[in-house]
Amino acid sequence: MTNLSPAEIAGYLRQLGEGALVTLELFLTSFAAAFVLGVLIGVVTLSRSRIIRAVWRVYASIFMGVPSLLVIFLIYYGGSAMLSAVLGELGAGVDISPFGAGVAAFAAVYAAYIAELVRGAIDNLPKGQFEGARALAIPPLVMWGKVILPQAMRLALPGLVNVWSFMLKETPLVSLAGLQDLVASAKIAAGATKEPFLFFIATALVFIAFSALTLRLATVLEIRLDRGVRRPDARASAGAQA
């Protein structure tokens, strides 16, 4: 089959394992950043101020209408120039790694999607929640943190799961900016061993397995969050969601 020793193949497989850890690190960091940013933006842009809403519309339109790969390249190659323009000398010293560029790009792009989900979810909450909190003199931070957002998260969960799987499948893009992740390691191994099928299909299976695993966890989470709430059309909405 191949003219390479099992030791060499094992060596490349080990590099793949290390790459997988990098991918995982990138993915979790990006999702966390996008989530925090998205919830913040989602809440802030519900304001009545016309300027804020206009800025939101422009930001959302741009980052949802442009390929993530271009955002990654722009931040990676242009990032330090942009930083030095904004922060002056301090910015010029900061070196943007492929990892940093990837997280920044994914956070910027997916925060827009998450913000849209959060806005939609909050819009769908009964107005009584806000009014009741005000009537009970609950301070705004507590109202948002303990009343509104938990309920919004429940409604936004299917959408969030979608964003999760989608972002996972975009993480290989960062390998094109030079990150030594799973895909980059697979490419090197495939090139060196002349066994592209072996390494690329193995990589695909890793992604599929990870996706399937997290999807299962998401269903468990959804069931848990739905306690106390009857959702008769949950099945139909889950079907149309796919």
């Binding site: 519309r57 422009v58 959302a60 339109s61 741009i62 949802m64 209408g65 442009v66 390929p67 993530s68 790969l69 271009l70 955002v71 390249f73 722009l74 190659y77 242009g78 120039a81 942009m82 030095s84 323009a85 904004v86 989608f166 996972l168 499948k169 975009e170 993480t171 290989p172 893009l173 390998s175 094109l176 895909v183 697979a186 490419k187 495939a190 002349k194 592209p196 099928f197 690329f200 299909i201 990589t203 695909a204 992604f207 599929i208 996706s211 399937a212 139909a236 079907g239 149309a240 969601q241 796919a242």
Partner: protein
């Protein structure tokens, strides 16, 4: 270096090249959209079939081609199939030998998997009552599907279809890894020779944005046309003259874009 130095001169000079790249991007978008949709129908039927031996392979197809990142699929089709000596001698090499063929195959398979699910969701969303009523009226199953289920499914699935198409267009940006010179590749090429990251990438981003929003306007118009029987009648006083593209319509469309 001033903030965001967009070299307008370079932008103007690169425009023809960028537009040529855009043409390629449009081509590798439209062809897989057509083929993928066509492929999605039989796979969707298999997926929704009662018999396990039909639904299982379809399920595996969907799980694999939806779960695998597009970049990996491209590598598998281009490098993987390129290594099979048997394939190289055979007639299929006409397809797999050309990078363009490989890209179309990989993109089609990926899109077909997503469309299978969109189709399935849309078909499931059709209220069963309408289907049962049609059956009670003695309409044949084939006619029910073409004239009752599909039109309704299209209405229910339009938003999901639009989302998938937009994501798909954005996903095509990676085909340069298998040597196809699309819009992103042209922008990168200009960057690699001039070392200016902003101008080519921002120009390419603007072109993608324009293309995607054209698509979204198209979908918005399609959705309006599908729901035309549900639109409220304008009172004679505020009714717009037929054929005139009123300001109100324009602003509604603009809102759809942003």
């Amino acid at each position: 270096m001033s903030a965001l130095p967009v070299d307008l001169d370079l932008a103007w000079r690169s425009l023809p090249e960028l537009l040529a790249g855009l043409r390629v991007t449009v081509l590798i978008t439209v062809l897989p959209l057509m083929f993928g949709l066509a492929l999605a129908f039989p796979i969707c039927f298999a997926r929704m079939a009662e018999r396990r031996w039909q639904s299982l392979p379809a399920e595996i197809f969907v799980v694999f081609f939806r779960g695998a990142p597009l970049l990996i699929l491209l590598y598998v089709v281009y490098y993987g199939f390129g290594q099979i000596a048997l394939l190289r001698e055979g007639p299929l090499w006409l397809l797999f030998g050309s990078p363009f063929g490989c890209v179309i195959v990989a993109l089609t398979l990926n899109h077909a998997a997503y469309m299978t699910e969109v189709l399935r969701g849309s078909l499931l969303a059709v209220p069963s009552g309408i289907v049962e009523a049609s059956e009670a009226l003695g309409i044949s199953r084939r006619h029910i599907f073409i004239w009752v289920k599909m039109p309704l499914a299209i209405r229910y699935g339009l938003k999901a279809y639009q989302n998938e198409v937009v994501s798909f267009v954005k996903g095509t940006a990676i085909v340069s890894v298998v040597t196809i010179t699309d819009l992103t590749a042209v922008a990168n090429g200009i960057f690699e020779q001039t070392y200016d990251p902003f101008t080519p990438i921002l120009c390419a981003a603007a072109l993608y944005w324009a293309f995607i929003n054209l698509l979204r306007i198209g979908f918005e118009l399609w959705g309006r046309w599908l729901a035309r029987h549900q639109r409220e009648e304008d009172s004679p006083r505020t009714a717009e003259a037929p054929g005139r593209f009123g300001l109100r319509r324009l602003s509604r469309l603009a809102k759809a874009m942003l």
